[in-house]
Symmetry: C2
Subunit: 257 residues, 2 copies
């Protein structure tokens, strides 16, 4: 059984903040203090009303704040309530995407990072992937093994090849690196799907892209870290040159989960 919220005394938060924000912050602190984990139950609405001596609406606004940040999930019904929730990758992606909505990131910006990071990722994964994952990578490559005939098909293949990189990113033991590459890949994928980016396609060069990925899986399987790094590095350079002919400005919408 989880003991009641913060203290037994009258709650007093930072008066510069609105009350819902004060409550939300207090609950966050309390979760950390109590060492709660994902799945653990927070006090019920009436309990929180009682503890903070605030109205139902105020408490509910606080819960919506925590929910918006991805830190809790709420269910109705018996056994329901609010539960600590591990912030999902999708939510984190969307929230970070909001920041860049106002920034105008360019494709060049993204590729500057991809060129710095993905070769490192490839090197650190060499020799560390299971046969299952290596198989999944090969399956992905197979889905775009034959040259695209239409622009739509080409677009679909491009999104598919980005999934190859997302799959690699998900294997990283470095969560920060993994998240970041996934984030960038998703932005590029969004651009390809939702906008008229990525035409005219350059069939010849994208063919090289497939080739790169085949050789990369080879190097990853054999544990050749330096080779994997080099192949990825070349691959990034090629992809960049293909993308950079496209429009520079991006993110004209909020990313959703």
């Amino acid at each position: 059984m989880i003991s009641l919220p913060p203290a037994t005394t009258q709650f007093k938060g930072d008066p510069r903040l609105s009350r819902p924000v004060q409550v939300a912050e207090a609950i966050k602190d309390w979760v950390v203090e109590q060492g709660l984990h994902a799945g653990d139950r927070l006090p019920s609405e009436p309990e929180l009303i009682e503890r903070f001596s605030m109205a139902k609406g105020t408490i509910r606004e606080a819960m919506r704040i925590l929910e918006a940040q991805g830190l809790i999930k709420t269910r109705t019904g018996p056994g329901g309530g609010s539960f600590v929730h591990e912030v999902s990758k999708e939510r984190a992606r969307a929230l970070l995407g909001n920041y860049f909505y106002f920034k105008n990131l360019t494709i060049a910006d993204i590729y500057q990072l991809r060129r710095a990071l993905e070769p490192e990722l490839a090197a650190s994964l060499a020799g560390n992937l299971s046969d299952e994952v290596l198989g999944q990578l090969e399956d992905r490559i197979a889905t775009y093994s034959s040259p695209a005939k239409t622009v739509d098909e080409e677009r679909e293949q491009h999104v598919g090849s980005l999934k190859f990189h997302a799959l690699l990113a998900a294997q990283s033991e470095n969560e920060l690196m993994g998240f970041l590459i996934d984030f960038m890949v998703n932005i590029l994928s969004d651009l390809t799907v939702y906008r008229r980016l990525y035409n005219p396609p350059n069939i010849e060069l994208w063919g090289k892209g497939r080739d790169f990925q085949v050789r990369l899986v080879e190097a990853l399987r054999s544990g050749d870290a330096d080779g994997a790094r080099q192949i990825m590095s070349d691959h990034m350079a090629t992809a960049q040159s293909l993308m950079e002919v496209q429009e520079a400005q991006m993110l004209r919408r909020f990313i959703s989960e």
Copy 2:
């Protein structure tokens, strides 16, 4: 004058989502459609109640969601209301930090990224910094020019030297790169300040750190991109070896703005 919210018809959102979330999403979409910018005013509370045919509480919860994501700010009083707000770096940092709270990132993870990115940053800034910024960098170095005598002083100097990197990050034309380095530097800074990390200090090696930074500013001023990259690369390697003797697990609290 801004016309009313979404459409003139009865609002109908995704029924799988709670109503406040539906409203928040609808408002986001509407902001994008209308091409609203930071500072633009959203419809007043009564207007939104009218438009969505929902109760005040529901609308208010929706506004708290948008506020928690950093997308709006709300003011009371005449001329008050809710306004589109550019998501601040601090907010984005905190929201992304929540994601990693559950992940246990290690110092090694962070340095793997720093080693890949900061040399690139240094190279891209070489020859592109104003005298004013170069002066600020030198001022920073000056604050820890004399060796620290106590552990507390050493800690303070470490935080100061991290600010050097944050200052560099802020100069990047690549917002993604700048944000990311700033994010990592802030995590390391938090660790140094709030926890017992970073003892025993290694005075000799940190002395080298100062040296690196002096040489780096030199290279940045003279426009020597390759030199700057190399110096930063060496600097990162040294710093990593100093940090890695520390405990590996991090982020035992939620990052606040």
